[in-house]
Every structure is written in C-alpha cells, then in structure tokens.
Symmetry: C2
Subunit: 428 residues, 2 copies
C-alpha cells in the first residue's frame, strides 16, 4: 500500500504519519485548560477548537457526542466505543488527506487552521486518561526468565504458574504520570547489612522497565467475565510505559505480597494513545507458548501482539546519549486480550480508563534487555555508555527515554513518540 499523503507537510520519518492519528490531551500557554487532540506530523490538532469551528460538520455520527472533545481527559471519547473511534480516526484522516473529500473543513479554512492546528512544540501534554485501576502484568517471558535466573538460578527460573496464566499484580494508579514528569529518586527501607537491620535510604538500585500500557474503553460489571474473543472490543489503545523500579526496596519488601513501594513512586506513560485500529496492520504473533492454554485464554491463533520496534536511550547529565536497548514488542507470552480475559475470569469489574501494563519487554540478546537489573546482572556488570561513562543503575540527572514505532516505509510510520523522565535527587 502506498503511504497516504497529507496536504500538511509531514516529515516522512514522523511517528505521527497520516496512518497513525493518535489521541492525547494538550494545553498551551494561550489556553491552559487541557483538551483532546490528535498528533499529526509536528502538529497537534486541537479537537476542542476543531469541534467549536464546526470541523465535524461532515460526520453526522459524532454530532450527538461532540462534548467528549471538551473534556480534560479522553475517558468520554474512549467510552464511545471502538466503532466510533474508527469513524472519527478515518474522518480525521480524510480531512487531512491530500486531494481528499473535505478540503473546506480544514485545508482551505485558514481560520480553523489558525485556531486548531498547533505546533507540537507549543503544546504541553497531559495524562491522556483518568485511570481508575492500573494492573501490571509480567508477560515478557525473557525478562521473567532472566530475573528468575538471577534470583533462583536457571533450573527454577520460571515459576510453575508462569506459562499457564498471565501473572500480574495491582499497581498504584495515583502515581501514573505523563512523559516528561521528573521522577524523584525514592527513599525506602533497604537491607544493606543484615546484621544491622534495614535502614531508610535513597534507593541505590533505581531502574527502568520497558513496557507497553493498554487503556480500557468499556466497563464490565462485578461478577462478569470478558471472553478472550470479546476482549478486543474493550481495548482503546496503546502507549509506551516505564514502570520505574527500586530494586533494593523491592528485594526487602516484596515477600510475601509482592512489589509495593518499589513500584508506586512513579510510572510514566507516553502522551499519545495509538488506537488499536492504527495498530491492526502490525498485528503479529507474540512468543509461542509451549504450554497449551485453557479455553478461556485460547485465542486460537489470532495475532494479537504487535510488531513494535522498541528503543531505550539514556542521556546522562553530561548531555551524551547512549542506546541501551533495541528490541520488539513481540517478546510477550500473553496478549492484552488474554490479560483482560484472565483479569475478569473471577468477576473483577473494569472501568473506562483502566490501564494494563504488559510487563517488562526484553529480547534474548544482550542488547535487548528491558531493564538495568538484567543488563547489569543486578549491579555486577557495568554498562558502558558514550563518552566513557558507566552505569549499574540510574543516577541523578539521567534521562531515560523509551520510543517505539511500527512500520518501515517512509511516510507511513505508526509510532508512539517518546516516553521520557529525568531522575532528580531524593529528599533527605
């Protein structure tokens, strides 16, 4: 398929090609009230201004719902459901299309372009949805295996349940923040010297975790299960997610009830939600599971992971940037539909805006690790950076950036932009 062309100049390497149309929440210095937008090339299309300027005039199905574009989160838009997301996305594509059917809506409407088409660099981005509950899974098989080897040795690396169900735990919704939010190094109880007992200390093993996040766009009731075949209807779209982790706090606190303060000091997501429809052309198999699935998890061969190329870079306080990781989002043993089917099999209810995390994504190779715990062998092997610096874990002033993109062709990339955060020193 030839790439779609827009009348708006778009860099052919932009993550936000006409094939993408991701949704987010923006504000500007001129209008500080956050509102929905899409990203297109190096612009944001402010959907509140677009609606006010009658931009949806040619799309009758959205008329009764236009108030969703005056909200300060995407929850109301998400709640309209996947058929409407598809219609709105395709309409916006057609409005932006070169020689498209609706030139009068925006291309030839100087006034609306002035009010609604804003340079991305002038926009602040905000958390795209109001999150009710956030759950983090552990579906990155190579990550789970590598971490298991570190802590239990190669014979018992994976727990017995691992391939039978998507292992997950409830995370902290209140500390999910948008890309760019500074991350303060957490303090916490750490057992340095077992003779002396734990001390309260700034984390010394601060790590990132390369993950995908998936937002839910439909609710389910207490007692209701979502069948794995129906689960795609409940998925709004995907973002990059960095589940910042304090490994030393985690090691002391996590028995027997799992990670807690080691994970709840911040979780960063990218600002632009790539809709499931935009990802569909990049659907792919994940890791093949050599354990047969129980029927409630059986997708019968449907491709429900995605061929997203993922990159992690680290910029140190010196200003030099090093690539830490290059891998693929295909390195997952379970898909988001499987996670949702498992999460609800006992009747746990969902709300629009709930967030699912994939778990850390690592490939098999040395340069494919989704966290420093794996990469540095839990602080034993130094990672060499540009300019001769080295790292075991993150230092104050480090800026960690995840990026992800689907597709190769110029002018047709479907990307996530960046998910970034800079470490600031702990409070004393």
């Amino acid at each position: 398929m030839a790439p779609l062309r827009s009348w708006l100049p778009i860099d052919p390497r932009s993550h936000f090609s006409l094939h993408n149309i991701p949704f987010g929440i923006i504000s500007t210095s001129a209008d500080s009230k956050p509102c929905p937008a899409i990203a297109i090339g190096d612009h944001a299309l402010d959907l509140r201004a677009f609606t006010a300027g009658n931009g949806f005039a040619a799309l009758s199905t959205i008329q009764p719902h236009q108030s969703v574009f005056s909200e300060s989160t995407l929850n109301a838009f998400a709640a309209l459901g996947r058929p409407l997301h598809k219609v709105v996305r395709e309409y916006l594509q057609s409005v932006l299309l070169k020689d498209g059917p609706f030139p009068d809506v925006l291309e030839k409407n100087e006034k609306l372009r002035q009010s609604a088409l804003l340079p991305l660099e002038d926009c602040d981005t905000h958390l795209p949805l109001r999150i009710g509950d956030y759950t983090d899974f552990y579906a990155g098989l190579h990550h789970a295996h590598n971490v298991g080897v570190l802590f239990r040795g190669p014979q018992n690396a994976l727990q017995k349940n691992y391939k039978h169900l998507p292992v997950g735990y409830h995370g902290r919704a209140s500390s999910v923040v948008v890309s760019g939010t500074p991350i303060q190094r957490p303090r916490g109880q750490i057992l340095v010297d077992p003779e002396k007992g734990p001390e309260l200390s700034p984390c010394r093993k601060l790590d990132f975790e390369l993950e995908l996040g998936c937002f839910v766009c439909a609710s389910s009731d207490l007692g209701e299960s979502i069948a794995v075949d129906d689960a795609p209807d409940y998925l709004f779209g995907i973002v990059l997610m960095n589940d910042w982790s304090a490994r030393d706090i985690q090691a002391w606190e996590y028995v027997p009830l799992g990670p807690f303060n080691s994970k709840n000091f911040g979780t960063t997501v990218s600002p632009w939600v790539v809709l499931m429809d935009a990802l569909e052309p990049f659907a792919a198999d994940g890791i093949e599971n050599d354990v047969p699935s129980l029927p409630y998890l059986d997708e019968r061969g449907r491709k429900s992971n995605f061929a997203i190329d993922l990159t992690v870079t680290l910029r140190t306080a010196s200003g030099l940037t090093s690539t830490l990781t290059k891998t693929s989002a295909r390195n997952l043993l379970f898909s988001f539909p499987q996670m949702l089917a498992h999460h609800t099999v006992g009747g746990c209810p969902f709300n629009v805006g709930d967030l699912l995390g994939s778990g850390t994504i690592s490939g098999k190779g040395k340069d494919e690790k989704g966290c420093l715990l794996e990469r540095s062998d839990n602080g034993k092997i130094e990672v060499e950076l540009e300019g001769g610096e080295r790292r075991l874990f993150l230092e104050d002033g480090d800026t960690l950036t995840l990026s992800g993109v689907c597709g190769q062709g110029d002018g047709a990339l479907v990307g996530f932009g960046e998910c970034t955060g800079t470490i600031v020193e702990a409070v004393r």
Copy 2:
C-alpha cells in the same frame, strides 16, 4: 462521662448513639439519587434534605461548603478536612441533644423532621466514598504468624521484613462494594492435581477476612512523604472491611508478585464511616512491636489503634446463625498513621477517598481467628456450626457478617453496624 441523651428515642444498645454520628450515603424509594447522611439510632438524617431545610443555619463555618451535602459520595465532605468534620459532627450532636441549644432546627421543626429524618430500614446504603486507590496491609500479627506457620512452619512463620515495616500490596479499587452486595463465588485457575495441570474451576476454598478499612481525606503530591506525626490529619474515618479471598486461586497465582484474582472479585465495606474524632475516646495500644521502629514509623508511644470489639457471624442457607469469631481490633502491629507514613515514604501520592485496609485481624485464641484459613487449618479441621452443620470454607448461600463496636456503656456505644455479604453460586 454520662452518656449524651437525645430527644430522639435511641435504643441504648444502638451502635449509632449520639456519641457516634457516622457518615454514609443513602437513597430511598422516594428519592433514588444518593446523598450524604448520618446514622442516629434507627434513623438516618438525610443531609441534603437537612441542608435544603436550612438545618445548618446555626453553623456559619459550613455555609460556604454546603454543596458537599448534595454530592453522591462523601469525597467532597471528607476533603474539607478534619477540623470541619469535627465542627459538623459536634453541631449535629448538639442539634440532636436533649435540651440542647438548637431545638428549633430539628426537634421542633416537624417539617424538617418529616423530610430529613428517615427510618434506616427505608434507606439503601451505597459505597460511602469514591475510591481512587485501595491498598491492603497485613498488620494483623497473629494472622500473619498463623498463616506463616501453615505455609512455612513455625520456625519461618514471619518473613524477616514483617516487624520492620507494614507489609502491604495494592488492591483493586473497582471491586470494593458496600455491605449487602451479593458476592459471586469466583472462578479461577486452580491446581488440584499437579500431574494434570491447572483447571478453570469455581473456587473451592472461599474465605472471608476480618479487617478494618480507613478512608483518606487529604491529598499528597508525587514525591511528597507524609510524616507519621502528620498522618492523623489525613484520616477521615474507619469502616469494617471483608477482604473476601479465594485460597485455592491464591495458592496457584501468588508467586512471585502477590495475590491478584484471589482478592479482586469483591471487597465489602460497611456503609457508615465512623469519624476518627468519634473513635478518639477508644484509642488504644496495638500489639507491642519488639523490633524498634525506624524514625519515620516511630509514633513515640502515641495510642493510635482502637479498642473495637469485633464479631463475625455466619448464617447458613438453613437460617441458623453461628458466631465464628470474637476478637479486638487492637490485634494490629502497625497503625493507620504508620501505614500511611510507610506508603508515602518513597513519594507515592494520595487522593481523597483512597482506602487503606488493616490486614486480617486475628487474636491468639482459637475463637479469635479472622478467617477460615486459620480456623480450619487450611481445610483440615471442620468448624462446627449451630444445628450440626460444619464448614471448612464458605458455601453458596452462606451470609457472612462482620460487626464492630466500641464502648460498654448503655447509650454511648460507638459502633460500625454490620458489614455483610451472601455468597451466590459461580457462573459456569
């Protein structure tokens, strides 16, 4: 202190004496829109109607905030902060006081009594606050010890971290429901026969957990810690909480990230929030910690647990009721202020309406166990019930009821009422 007397007839054994004044959310068949209320004796005082009828005329400090009593949750009232909770509670006490200072407000105001003072039995109760995040702790030392003995033997019953920090995990906020909500037996993956692998099955080890829940009434920012001495200002009030648990699902799923589907199918709270001010006369020491606290957890001897007498009863489908448990809420090693200080020491932010669970409360005695896992020795020792029935775990049709009360004196009880739920059969 002699008990306060009201002009309103109140059963001297009522949990909702004039000393209590707990807050909740009600609706009636006449007015189905939920609104705030207090419980007093066997009545609810509808605070929306009370406000509309100018009931707060004599309390100028609440005038600018009266809209909080038109909300469908207590979040806005809670957010006013503890000084205003105190003023409102004491004002309502004085309005209800026999020979009190404000007879014209309600006692002699037939019209307002008709519109605002409703028989409790005519009221439906609702979840009292909109919960952002819910965290369950594990501060019941005897419970943790008993469960540890069951799974790891008496030598390693408590994990090494247990006395150093309040162990906790993030729970699922979406499945917290109000007393009376039926609880559907969850399905889930269970490993019955390791040779055959896990199966999807209705839970066969369905249990309750006797806990207290504490609602938060002030927010904190990302990166901010709440000092243990300041933590009481962040606490709104306490409810009874039943953290329903599926022990067989839990046993298979919980390594290495903690309980998940075994806990997220329902958590029941009592409808009436007993304010911290009402509990203050019953402040008591918890279990003495023989491990010195790090400074951030050190309450320096402040009594911050409560002498709440707790009872658990089980009514089976036959209609016969048996008492399963009698114990005290003093059986906690850590207090809610310590939990909040620990939860925020790394900078995890809080929102108004967030819920903290104490962990299962068990005493030392055989009849003081806060769950059936302990009581039946994980399904090995039958519990004998009235009428010759027996239980290892909960059966369909069983109604489990927690109750809790402070004080002995007639007419001065500060109680929680009931937290109840009936088990309905699993979906197939």
